[in-house]
Amino acid sequence: MIRAGAAALRAWSRGRGWAALSTAPPAPPAAPEPRREEPPVPPPVLRSCRVPVVPPLSPVQAWVGSLRHPEDTLRGLADLHPDVFAVTPRLDILHAVATWQRNYKRISHARVRSRAEVRGGGRKPWRQKGSGRARHGSVRSPLWRGGGIAHGPRGPTSYFYMLPMRVRVLGLKVALSVKLMQDELHVVDTLEMPSSDPRYLLELARARRWGRSVLVVDTNEFPENISAAAEGLKSITLIPALGLNVHSLLKHQTLLLTLDAVAFLEQRLLWHDARYSALVPFSLPHRDLPWPPPAG
């Protein structure tokens, strides 16, 4: 692990590039003694599942890296719960949840006038018999040019529907499992960065071959450096763990989770496996919910 000093960081931002960051520690001036050149190895960051894993299943694992240097990817090993990160890849559920996310907010405002709403057309244009023309009752019937539309879109239409809560939860689990199994999921201990330059983030993503878009998830607040760096970038998005959704997971190529986010997701998603069905909507106060009751 290479620690970048303030002077090296300034040189890097001026455009000197990696040559400034990767300066080796200055050689000792006059000590010819052969000393061991092993830098102090930090203890590995290990994470085990808080929710116990039932015996036939075994936890899946992921490397724990960090954003402090592009080469710092093998800091530790995290155990991930198999019921969240190693679920059967149900693509039909992914499709259902992604479609639901697109449609449940949709209100289509398309509206066309019917023959009753078009201005005019109350009088019979000509007599029923004897004029030689086809018989008509109104100049605004759908047969006429300028007339109303017979079966057109009528007014604001809502496409709201809700998938069962367990289906949406399973969709998240399937999406996370698919990301892990396709090598697009990375775990990081914290989101601390040495600089708030967006170029640093882009080059880190490029060096680690993360892909064109990165979704970064943390529990509550993001450190200043990464939020400043990602503010101007379109390909790197920061979201809190509560905002994780299937559409964002599918839209971004890589997912970056912190250890806190992994614990949060495991706790919330696994609770649904072992809960009672709701007799009363969860928005009303309950005693045994896994999340803290809303204030007020």
């Binding site: 590039g17 290990l46 490397w63 093998l74 090993l77 080059e203 071959r209």
Partner: protein, 135 residues
């Protein structure tokens, strides 16, 4: 007259730092790590020495049956191997590495070089050129 000269100066100022960046590509944009991996010939002995070094006396007679249950030792072993061979076990395969024999099998399989279009996609591109190549 004067405004046009100022515009040209501004454009020249903008062009100059761009030329500086282009003239030193290797410093500012380090190439991403190569995905290609060819197993070395002394892989088995190298792996065995690492396993014995990390696990110490608790290695059974057949070193390939050493279980990698404890995360600390597993991380140490796999991190050392990744540093030495330049090829780390990806996240999707980590749960399959249960014994030292699994690790040996993983490191025996070579990883192919990317195709030319993949290399082009990963190489230096002007910012307005994107290559989307899906196999």
């Amino acid at each position: 007259g004067a405004s046009r000269k100022e515009e040209r100066e501004v454009e020249a100022d903008r062009a100059v730092p761009e030329r500086e960046e282009r003239s030193e590509p290797s410093l500012i944009h380090p190439p991403p790590r190569r995905r290609s991996y060819v197993p070395p010939k002394d892989l088995q002995s190298c792996l065995e020495s690492h396993v014995r070094e990390v696990f110490g006396p608790s290695v059974p007679q057949d070193w390939q049956q050493t279980p990698l249950q404890e995360n600390r030792l597993k991380h140490r072993l796999l991190a050392r191997l990744a540093a030495e061979l330049g090829h780390a076990v990806p996240n999707s395969q980590l749960h399959r590495m249960r014994r030292a024999g699994d690790v040996l099998g993983f490191y025996r399989s070579p990883v192919k070089d990317s195709t030319k279009i993949d290399e082009l996609a990963a190489a230096e591109l002007p910012p307005n050129l994107k290559i989307i190549w899906q196999q």
